[in-house]
Symmetry: C2
Subunit: 104 residues, 2 copies
């Protein structure tokens, strides 16, 4: 997961998807902010194929979810992933691997 976040383009994509709810609100899967692949690439000077490659890496790492919605593919972050990641840096929390996460 950290390897996936270690690339500037992928980190930016992840950050765009991270702002999943308004301040004072609690995040849930339904409220999770969603962007299509094309929208995520806006402002990033990167070829479509490269963008696709990065999204695949993020998904493969278990960081983002993807689902086709008509012509486009929507991406979002499961709030549980954010909680797990946050907990990783808390010495009091015991870290466990997350579902779709690709561990070698």
């Amino acid at each position: 997961m950290f390897k996936a976040l270690g690339n500037p383009h992928r980190l930016l994509i992840f950050q765009r998807l991270s702002r999943c709810c308004q301040p004072g609100t609690r995040c849930d899967l339904e409220a999770a902010i969603r962007f299509s692949v094309g929208e995520l690439g806006e402002g990033m000077e990167i070829a479509a194929s490269t963008l696709s490659h990065h999204l695949k890496a993020l998904h493969h790492a278990g960081l983002i979810e993807m689902e086709r919605q008509g012509k486009q593919i929507n991406c979002w972050i499961d709030p549980a992933v954010l909680e797990k990641l946050s907990g990783f840096f808390d010495p009091q929390t015991e870290f466990e691997n997350i579902g779709g996460c690709d561990v070698r």
Copy 2:
């Protein structure tokens, strides 16, 4: 920082240093667990030069502190780094760059 944590050896080193205090205890700089370079490499089948290289990368990323203590060099994590990193994954927290952190 995530790029630095993205390597399995470096992540292991970071995790060893992360358990900075006992459950129920609050972490502080004094209580931070410290390991020498040699101790950190124990059990990792890696050349000393490679270990040194990884430690340098972690330090350069602002993840660990290093200080010579006689013949050896001690390493530890500033608890503030753990809090910052934890906060990065909290949508309610505004993330700011940390002191020694190397941003490009």
